[in-house]
């Protein structure tokens, strides 16, 4: 389909045990042959079979590396073009030299996402599948990879296809009654509104599952907040299991905020440590407190820490008041010390919030905390329900939902069939955009500019 042959390193950048350079296009094999000589000299390279050989530097006329070559002839390949994969040691120097030689021999460096673009353009995969592949490449967590795989198999496509047929059925009933007024095909407004309500219900469920999708694909941000010296940085380090934040016995040690990834049950959170709230001692601390307040208010969730070895203060109460309507876990820290706080009193001010007693320093109850974080912040999906990973998909689903809601409203207000039919008709191309059947420029460009090189 495309005239030129593209080449790129298709394993992640950096040192690895193994690296793969991939070619796709008509000239993949001739180009590869220029820089690869099989150990057992064969007249032809057999397809779909790794061949051991040496990489040949045709500029310096020398062999420089042992490698395997696999030739995958068109059309049963990812891009539906001829594909060659060369695997050798994962040194960036070697891999980049292989790519450079490939370009010398007639290939062109692949643009970001071009392999997947070719797969899409050749009709090999639909847009949903293309996006799912991107997720595998960039998945921050194993769980997301699993979701990506099931999506790749087209399960979301199926779900949307079924939604599509549901809507097509609905529309065809309305249309039939319009087109054949003489044939007694009239369907009652009540029947139609029932069907619309069902479709709206299903759509809402799909849209809601987006929240879970966000957790898994982007990771939620969790801010550790509380008064000064309650042990926020200690907790930060303990959870991450590394000395990331500087910890001293003195209040106000942390001035700027720190971020790091926290993995809980294969879900990724961005954990934020910040300056303690309270009257600042320096200008820098003041600025840190200001930033911390903003971060905490923007975070998806809050770990609100109190020092259990001290009596509760009005500042604590202020913080509880501030965060009790957010997704917040209450932490009574320093339970390894003599307890002064009146937990009952504190809890009574935030009855809906989960509360936990921990010692960040000794590591007491930290596993329990992780469990709580997971249960509290990761929305639990019911089995077989789909997860929507992308904002684009969510927005499209919401658009479809809006059309149906408008249609239902128009129907209930007593408007004529052709008017609310118009709303249902609008959803057909939108669903097409979801399944990639209708290709509009902005979608495609948006998707493929996000792909990393080589799948």
């Amino acid at each position: 389909m495309l005239e030129d042959t593209i080449i790129a390193i298709s394993t992640p950048l950096g040192y690895g045990g193994l690296g793969i350079v991939r070619l796709s296009g008509k000239k993949s094999l001739p180009i590869a042959k220029k820089m690869f000589k099989p150990k057992k000299s064969k007249a032809q390279i057999p397809p779909r079979q790794p061949i051991l050989g040496n990489l040949y530097h045709f500029e310096q006329k020398e062999f420089f590396e042992e490698a395997y070559l696999t030739y995958l002839p068109s059309p049963h390949t990812y891009t539906r073009e001829d594909v060659v994969e060369i695997s050798c040691h994962g040194s960036p120097v070697i891999l980049e030299e292989v790519v450079r030689l490939g370009i010398k021999a007639g290939a062109r460096h692949a643009k970001p996402g071009e392999f997947t673009l070719r797969a899409f353009l050749s009709g090999r995969i639909d847009i949903l599948q293309a996006e799912a592949i991107n997720d595998i490449i960039q998945a921050p967590s194993y769980k997301q990879v699993k979701i990506s795989f099931s999506q790749l198999e087209g399960s979301l496509s199926q779900k949307i296809a079924s939604l599509r047929s549901q809507i097509i059925l609905l529309l065809s009933q309305v249309e039939a009654s319009i087109e054949f007024p003489e044939e007694g095909l009239r369907i009652s407004a009540k029947q139609i509104s029932k069907k619309m309500e069902k479709a709206i219900h299903d759509l809402k469920k799909l849209v809601e599952s987006y929240d879970l999708g966000k957790t898994l694909s982007e990771g939620l941000t969790l801010a550790i907040t509380g008064r000064k010296n309650v042990g926020k940085s200690t907790l930060f380090n303990s959870l991450l299991q590394k000395e990331r934040a500087i910890v001293t016995p003195y209040p106000g040690t942390t001035r700027d905020y720190l971020c790091d990834k926290l993995n809980v049950n294969s879900s990724i959170f961005t954990l934020i440590d910040m300056a303690g709230l309270g009257s600042p001692l320096h200008l820098a601390e003041k600025e840190g407190i200001k930033r911390g307040k903003i971060l905490a208010s923007q975070a998806d969730g809050v770990l609100l820490m109190l020092d259990a070895s001290q009596g509760e203060s009005t500042e604590d109460f202020k913080l509880i008041e501030k965060f009790k309507n957010k997704k917040t876990i209450l932490l009574f820290n320093k339970i390894d010390l003599p307890q002064k706080i009146n937990k009952k009193n504190v809890k009574s001010r935030a009855e809906s919030l989960p509360a936990l007693e921990i010692s960040a320093l000794k590591g007491t109850n930290l596993e329990k905390l992780k469990e709580t974080i997971y249960e509290f912040f990761v929305p639990q999906q019911k089995q077989a329900e789909e997860v929507i990973l992308h904002l684009r998909q969510k927005l499209l689903l919401e658009d479809i939902l809006d059309c149906l809601i408008d249609g239902l409203r128009l129907l209930k207000e007593g408007h004529s069939e052709e008017i609310y039919a118009e709303e249902i008709r609008k959803t057909i191309p939108l669903i097409g955009q979801l399944t990639g059947e209708i290709r509009t420029d902005d979608i495609i460009e948006n998707i493929f500019s996000r792909f990393c090189v080589g799948k």
Binding site: M1, E3, D4, I178, E179, P181, E418, I419, R439, E445
Partner: protein, 620 residues
């Protein structure tokens, strides 16, 4: 030496497509010859005695707005008139009329005989004369040669027509009228690919053998709505139609006789229309239905023939009689003409340009059933467009193509040309993307300009059209400006009041007097414009957006072979024709919407790249 004559345009076949084509070409000032196998069957309604209905009635209005004749003729010869979907909004209302078939035929012949520049001629065309891939004229069975600059082919079901009744079949274009084999063979030799289609027609019964008391009468409208914007006379309902149902017994008879059906025995290979199935199909495909509805429709005032709409069949005559026996009220009915199925050749319409001209033969135009459509109205619409385009071609003027956003005619032709057909194509309102825009009440507003421009609408009618627009404008202005105080003490524009689903124009003028006059037709127009306003505005924006994309320039140095996702065929077409805009590219046959979108995306990326100062082409 055989007879030779010369014309500008020759139209082959005088059905609904041929008549419109010949009328348009001659009215546009071209010497035109309309050739038919049989002068008595000009404009014969081969199947049902009715014109119009949903989408079809829309087409007739559009034909009329462009200056065609079908609407005027349907009004002139109609014997019962109904506006369908009166309870729904204006966009899905359409007129339908029962016609007096014989009167329709006679009146058409009579009218065409009076048209200047138009010659009617009885003959069988066996060959299209071609030189250097360009039409020269036609040759008839007797060997006569008629020369012309353009030929419009409208042979209906006559190409290799094969009639089936039971397992018996015979060659015919219509019952007992000769089919055309030579012409079909000739078209194949000219390189036009054809395929088989199938359709059918029900039996005709004698009205005095029907027990009418067993059926429900269906009268016409109290206030008939004409097809034509130009019809002046009062329309009268002169007949009743009746509704009846088949029953379980009928279905048993049909099932028992399926082995004698040419459809189910595999004798018929052509594809039939899903939307107009034979009774055999209905019974087999919908086994849960206890009954199927049918209509008894008189074929005219001077005949006793009754058309049984809904029981088309190709079962043998004995089975047809048995079917009637099973239905109370028809049990004594006498069949005057048996139902039959017919197979015929159609030419794949993807071989035509949007002007309906064959791609590989210059000045050869095809219209009607030969392009895979069914229906008098679909045929007439194509005939009119072919007639106009053949004339424009001869005059050296630019072709006339209607967009999907302009007319149902545009939707129809674009569907045929860009998608092709697999079964006889019928128009539906749902095929239109802009259904609320393409209405019967604004067909003149959409199209009369064109009819006037091409000389098909005369000065007098055009003036009447302009006056009508002025009246409408005045009413729209009134609705926009005038306000009333609503229940909640707020001021409400009359227009917003009229937008409410239950409110009609007549309710609005109860609040404020309107110092103008509107006909019922014009009131329907005003109501639609107001009630659909929000949608119409959005659709206009959408249309403008598409127009913008279509106007996008394709740089001269574009290498079409570099564009990802295009098939070799598409690339070659683009390389060969080198369109200058996306719109032009879209019009190239074989360029799919997806391919055009790819082109658009590619150009967008290239443009952005060159703006960033990067290389335009990727280096090798």
């Amino acid at each position: 030496m055989n007879f030779v004559d010369e014309y500008d345009v020759i139209v082959v076949g005088a059905g609904h497509a041929g008549c419109e084509a010949a009328y348009a070409a001659s009215t546009m000032g071209l010497e035109t010859c309309l050739i038919t196998i049989h002068l008595e069957t000009i404009a014969q309604m081969s199947c049902n005695p009715a014109i119009g209905g949903l989408a079809k009635g829309h087409l007739v209005r559009e034909i009329d707005a462009l200056g065609g004749i079908m609407g005027l003729l349907a009004d002139e010869t109609g014997i019962q008139f109904r506006l369908l979907n009166r309870s729904r909004g204006g966009a899905v209302q359409a007129p339908r009329a029962q016609s007096d078939k014989a009167l329709y035929r006679l009146t058409m012949k009579n009218w065409l005989e009076k048209v200047p520049n138009l010659t009617l001629f009885q003959g069988v065309v066996t060959e299209i004369l071609i030189k250097d891939k360009k039409v020269q004229g036609v040759k008839t069975l007797e060997g006569n040669r008629l020369l012309s600059k353009a030929v419009i082919l409208t042979p209906g079901t006559f190409l290799n027509g094969l009639i089936h009744i039971g397992l018996h079949s015979y060659s015919a274009g219509r019952a007992n009228e000769p089919a055309s084999h030579e012409l079909s063979e000739n078209l194949k030799q000219l390189g036009l690919k054809s395929f088989r289609l199938k359709t059918g027609t029900p039996m005709r019964l004698h009205e005095q053998t029907i027990d009418w008391s067993r059926f429900t009468a269906q009268p016409g409208d109290k206030k008939p709505v004409p097809f034509s914007f130009r019809t002046q006379k009062d329309l009268k309902n002169q007949i009743l139609c009746h509704i009846g149902y088949t029953n379980q017994k009928t279905h048993e008879v049909i099932k028992k006789n399926l082995d004698k059906s040419p459809l189910y025995s595999g004798k018929i290979t052509g594809v039939g229309p899903r939307y107009c199935p034979s009774i055999e199909d209905k019974v087999v495909k919908f086994p849960h239905h206890q009954r199927h509805q049918f209509f008894l429709e008189p074929e005219g005032l001077e005949t006793a023939e009754i058309y049984v709409n809904g029981i088309s069949s190709s079962l043998p005559l004995e089975a047809q009689m048995e079917i009637l026996k099973s239905i109370p009220g028809l049990d004594q009915a006498k069949i005057l003409r048996p139902a039959y199925g017919i197979e015929y050749d159609a030419v794949a319409p993807t071989q035509l340009n949007h002007s309906l001209e064959a791609k590989n033969i210059k000045n050869l135009f095809l219209a009607g059933q030969i392009n895979g459509t069914s229906g008098y109205e679909e045929a007439a619409a194509q005939g009119l467009m072919a007639g106009i385009n053949a004339s424009l071609r001869i005059k050296g003027r630019k072709h006339f193509i209607l967009g999907r956003n302009e007319a149902y005619i545009g939707v129809l032709i674009d569907d045929l040309i860009s998608k092709g057909v697999e079964e006889p194509y019928r128009l539906f309102t749902s095929r239109a993307e802009y259904r609320l825009l393409l209405r019967i009440d604004n067909a003149d507003k959409r199209l009369t300009q064109y009819g006037y421009k091409y000389g098909l609408i005369n000065e007098k009618d055009y003036e009447a059209y302009q006056k009508k627009q002025e009246r409408i404008e005045k009413a729209m202005h009134f609705l926009q400006k005038e306000r009333i105080i609503a229940d909640n003490k707020e001021k409400l524009r009359l227009k917003d009041l009229l937008k409410k689903p239950e409110v009609k124009f007549k309710n609005v003028v109860e609040y404020k007097k309107f110092n103008g006059f509107l006909t019922d037709e014009e009131i329907r127009h005003v109501e639609s414009e107001v009630k659909y306003e929000g949608y119409l505005k959005k659709q206009e924006k959408e249309i403008a957006r598409i127009k913008k994309i279509e106007g996008e320039k394709i740089p001269e140095n574009t290498n079409f072979r570099k564009i990802p996702g295009l098939t070799r065929e598409v690339m070659e077409k683009l390389e060969e024709i080198r369109p200058q805009t996306i719109g032009e590219a879209k019009k190239i046959p074989g360029i799919t919407p997806a391919a055009a979108m790819n082109l658009h995306i590619y150009l967008g990326i290239q443009k952005r790249k060159s703006e960033k100062g990067e290389m335009f082409h990727v280096k090798h």
